[in-house]
Amino acid sequence: AQECQNLEVEKQRRLERIKQKQSQLQELILQQIAFKNLVQRNRQAEQQANRPPPSNSVIHLPFIIVNTSKKTVIDCSISNDKFEYLFNFDNTFEIHDDIEVLKRMGMACGLESGSCSAEDLKIARSLVPKALEPYVTEMAQGSISSVYVTSSS
């Protein structure tokens, strides 16, 4: 009976770890889809326009974005070698990484919020390895919850 109890505790710990790892995997799937979508879109746009976009109109990944109200006063101090920056804001700000920006632009096919059209789902599935397609299908309906290896016992 004691061993049963120990195994129950062990089982819960493993379930918790699996839940965390599935969440990390979900995030990586979104990144893969968003990056591949972005590269494809930019390549197609360049082919259609027969030239790359002006270099001062784009920003290369990776980057992070700090956004604040346009009324915010920002004081910026920069070291001579640009190794150190200090920003003082008189209002709140938010920070987002490039993957977050790509999600906001729809590059992750709506999978981050589970609102994915049939067409988007088809595109998303084509951008991940075949073994991960079941995850993408689940994410389109909400989030990964029950994709398990079939038990041999």
Binding site: F93, H96, D97, I99
Partner: protein
Amino acid sequence: ACLTPRTALLYKFNGSPSKSLKDINNMIKQGEHR
């Protein structure tokens, strides 16, 4: 060297997950609501 989690939140480029930035944003918002 004197910083602790009570004084500041940290994020490392190409090292920390997106969640670290979300934690920073939540901290700023909570401070504002208080």
